[in-house]
Symmetry: C2
Subunit: 222 residues, 2 copies
């Protein structure tokens, strides 16, 4: 991808206040960081030297249990920032989660001084950063509720609905890892869904047959 100032602003309108020359400087190809899928982003807690903006691809943030089971905390998509990475910069908190590139990704690292100046001078950029934080907080609070109070079939149904498109490509193992469960259970539940005509199962793919059915299952009282 060629990154143009206009393209950058389209993803990050809150950068609008940067002078044109600095914007151009950020867009130089050397400023971009391209990493292959599977890269571990902050497992090794290397000190991050800036505020990362995700331009392309997707990052998943994951907790790993002692047993080896995994669970997705959230994803970072283009237009967002991997605030968790920046948090070690901003908040000096040690994080225990793992960040991993789900796809090949392109990052733009806002150097610390640039970030500091933007936050200090640009109310709009500040709002953007605060917004990122509070979105994540809200998401995590929601996740706690779901894990603590909702049954797995409901969470699975919700997960299926969240993927847009009629058919979705994922292994049962991958779904289990998003939910913090194990493959067998996901298979069992999916079989149940299929028996109710909610989905059609195939190797590495799941066809959504009845969105409304799934939705009502996901929202059922208990």
């Amino acid at each position: 991808m060629e990154l143009t100032p206009a393209g950058l602003l389209a993803l990050y309108p809150s950068l609008a206040a940067l002078p044109a020359d600095q914007l151009a400087a950020l867009c130089r190809p050397e400023a971009l960081l391209r990493l292959p899928a599977g890269t571990q982003l902050f497992a090794e807690r290397q000190p991050c030297q800036g505020f990362p903006l995700l331009l392309e691809g997707s990052i998943k943030v994951v907790k790993t249990a002692a047993s080896g089971r995994e669970m997705l905390l959230y994803r970072v998509e283009p237009g967002e920032s991997c605030i968790i990475t920046s948090s070690c910069l901003l908040g000096h908190a040690p994080y225990t989660a793992r960040g991993e590139a789900e796809t090949p990704i392109t990052l733009l690292i806002l150097p610390s001084p640039v970030f500091d100046r933007l936050v200090a001078e640009q109310a709009r950029f500040r709002d953007f950063v605060f917004h990122l934080f509070s979105e994540r907080l809200a998401e995590l609070m929601q996740l706690v509720e779901e894990v603590a109070f909702h049954r797995l079939d409901q969470r699975l149904a919700k997960l299926l609905l969240a993927k847009n498109g009629d058919t979705l490509h994922a292994t049962h193992q991958q779904l289990a890892e998003e939910l913090g469960s194990v493959r067998e259970i996901v298979s069992r539940l999916l079989k149940g869904f299929a028996a109710q005509g909610l989905v059609a199962l195939g190797r590495e793919q799941i066809g959504i047959l009845d969105r409304n059915g799934l939705k009502s299952l996901a929202e059922a009282a208990r």
Copy 2:
């Protein structure tokens, strides 16, 4: 409580950069908000008109399930801010959790303009705010892990250990609500702890007999 500038700074050193007169203005008794225990802070999502600093008391932030079961997400203590409240200000995110004064509390609301100016001009205050956010994020991520992967006895043991002091005053119901469980289970587990000589049970109180024992239980592989 009489609030003096020195007292305020002791709790919130990051306010050090405020000019003396403004600091004094914040400390006027009229600026303080005193609320009785049990006050609902942002259930009704009244728009918050500033950034709240907690001076005295403690606030609990709680999720309530459809079934009526509750679960503590985190507490806000003096020296912190109820960022979640401020988040609706900063991030415009709708929150679904409930905030409640656990004890009588004293709040100081930083008016929006003062907050904005501090964040814009004072790197130290900015750091403080970012730090609050990232602490909460880390805590919530930890909580997700515990709820998803740890058994209740381990979480209960950890909870008991977290309270300092040898004996702790709480009903089983209250402990259950912190954990997102129910009274009977907490009673059952506590009975087990007592049988192992880890705790001594009494009406509305629990004596910690063997901290190390509890600790090793809390950290056991599974």
